[in-house]
Amino acid sequence: MAIAAESTVMNNVEAVRSTLYEALKTDERTVILGEDVGARGNVFLITKGFLEEFGESRIIDTPLAEASIIGVAIGMAMEGLRPIAEIQFAEFIYPAFNQIVGEAAKTRYRSNGDYTCPLVIRTPYGGGVRGALSHSVSIEALFYHVPGLKIVAPSFPADIKGLLNAAIDDPDPVLFLEHKKTYRMVKGEVPSGHYTIPIGKAEIKHPGDKLTVVSYGLYVHQAIEAAKTLAADGMSVEVIDLRSIRPMDRTTILASVRKTHKLLIVHEDNKFGGVGAEIAAMVAEDAFFELDAPIRRLCGPDVPAMGYAAPLEEAFMISTTRMAEAMREMVRF
């Protein structure tokens, strides 16, 4: 990402917050709705102060009822508003599944284009924060199979701004995933002024030519760190940050695999049926003869979620050391 002349260093919370703020400021059709987004300013303080500035009718503390948060937002979107709905923690999106999969994703299709549903759904996901069974899950694989829905999961502040702007501008529903461990952990330059990053474009965050590593979310940061360690040992690893999960960027992945001939996919979500499955399948279909080694997926174990106790969390999460090891093995293969 080229950094504009003017830019500010901020963390991921600030990137989300300032982008939402601009959307509220510049487009009066924008409304934010969710639990505790008003006076509380969201449980991570992302919307703090918005209520005072934009008023109760645009910053809406909803009843505790996720299906209606999304369902009402759909109606708003169909009638010309630009709702940004928040699900307080990713797991609480389950009760809204019908509204997202059965309704939002099908509004345009079932009305043959007569109605659109420009809706953004933001939610914090992911582990490593002692969030226990309930406040640490990943949800992307439950939705990435759904035609009509877009899913983004950026994890750098500048990407967050560009993709959140793109999501807000998008005429179709976008699920915007924010890894909560990156919220205050990750800082970076964010260009000033309005810009968008197209949904569906990955980015090489660390170039290399002996192995392609595809990841997203928190693990991109660890993968880059691991790649740097390997670079010090003369092993050149390319780290691709997917950023968008649906649509996904075949071009960038295939170009990289054609160069490195090896593919490692790393994600926090459970392995079986996870996003890595589709990536592996696509490459096994479309670049099979480019591969010099079996595709490998390094993913979350197939258990419901990490536990609250530190050892259970550690057993679930993949350390940078384990990532580096897997990369080393593959480079040497």
Binding site: A65, L81, D114, M282
Partner: protein, 340 residues
């Protein structure tokens, strides 16, 4: 139009003769389109049809209370008469039955799943009660923009009120005192499930106080009474008075759909015992008795409608199916591939 010199007093809620005969026409048209659907299905011309026989009074009355160009209708699959009544061209009923390319869903949805943005008819879902929160969102948009004088009319069946999404929608609307009317078309059945297995309260309006809302019950076989109640509720909504839950009583005279066989769960006697609630003959009789229309005029109206429905049937049938290549249109804006 026949004008009676001395008209016996009947509660017409300020409705003029042409409005009454407009309702008559709406009801007859709906019934004939319904019958046409079942007929075409029996003839093997269409695989599936849904009928709303018994709901005509509700539809005619509510449609008259609706303000075209201002209000928004968020209907369900029974609302053929209501959609016609707020301005939908009846060709759409046939296009949807025949699944033609010109159908509003492009031949994608089952019959009677309308959407007409330009008429303010929101897109109908097959998933029961899923549309109720959408109606609330539309009402929220009206309120946020300060559009006084507009309201949303959201309809659903009695069974739908068991759904969690219905509860969440009504509750949300009530908290924000949104300009919306929730109109329950209580036909006593949800497929084969009677009220007593659906809820433990006697009436749908017993649910209103739990949302802090007024509830009004009306005889849905009477389009005039339905008009009056829905109009009052819409007016309250339009003037900042918040939502109302209206329960309009009717009876589902046909099987749930052509795929259903109601003989498995209700007797013919039960159905016959409800004939007195059939809105069409009641209203015909009323208009004749009160000299709003003559019996001849009604007969002529029926003939005209039948001719229209025949003509629409031919026109719709003659139109092409959507092309197989239309399958991937309108998934999202523009072309769409998950891998880019």
């Amino acid at each position: 139009m026949a004008k009676a010199i001395t008209k016996p007093a009947f509660e017409r809620h300020g409705l003029k003769d042409d409005q009454l005969s407009w309702m008559m026409r709406n009801m007859l048209l709906q019934r004939m389109l319904d019958n046409r659907g079942f007929q075409l299905n029996r003839q093997g011309k269409i695989p599936f049809a849904t009928g709303s026989e018994g709901h005509e009074g509700i539809h005619a009355g509510a449609a008259l209370a609706f303000e075209r160009g201002r209000d928004i209708l968020v209907p369900y699959y029974r609302d053929i008469g209501l959609c016609l009544g707020v301005g939908m061209d009846p060709i759409h009923a046939l296009l949807s039955m025949f699944a033609r390319g010109d159908d509003v869903s492009g031949g994608r949805q089952f019959p009677n799943h309308y959407s007409h943005h330009s008429l303010g008819i929101l897109s109908i879902s097959s998933i029961i009660a899923a549309h109720c929160p959408h109606a609330v969102g539309a009402a929220y948009a009206m309120k946020l923009r300060g559009e006084a004088g507009r309201a949303v009319l959201c309809t659903f069946g009695d069974g739908s009120t068991s759904s969690g999404e219905w509860h969440e929608a009504v509750n949300f609307a009530a908290v924000h005192r949104l300009p919306i009317v929730f109109l329950c078309e209580n036909n006593e059945w949800a497929i084969s499930t009677p009220r007593s297995k659906q809820m433990a309260c006697e009436r749908i309006i017993d649910k209103a106080p739990g949302y802090g809302l007024p509830g009004v019950r009306v005889d849905g076989s009477d389009p005039i009474a339905t008009y009056a109640v829905v109009k009052e509720a819409l007016d309250r909504a339009r003037t900042g008075g918040g939502p109302t839950l209206v329960e309009a009583m009717c009876y589902r005279f046909l099987s749930h759909t052509t795929d259903d066989d109601d003989r498995t769960y209700r007797t013919r006697d039960e159905i016959e015992s409800h004939r007195h609630q059939d809105p069409v003959p009641i209203f015909e009789k009323l208009l004749i008795e009160h000299a709003v229309m003559t019996s001849d005029e009604i007969s002529q109206m029926k003939k005209d409608i039948l001719a229209l429905v025949n003509d629409l049937t031919d026109r719709a049938e003659a139109l092409p199916f959507p092309a197989g290549s239309d399958l991937d249109k309108h998934v999202v804006e523009g072309a769409y591939e998950p891998w880019q």
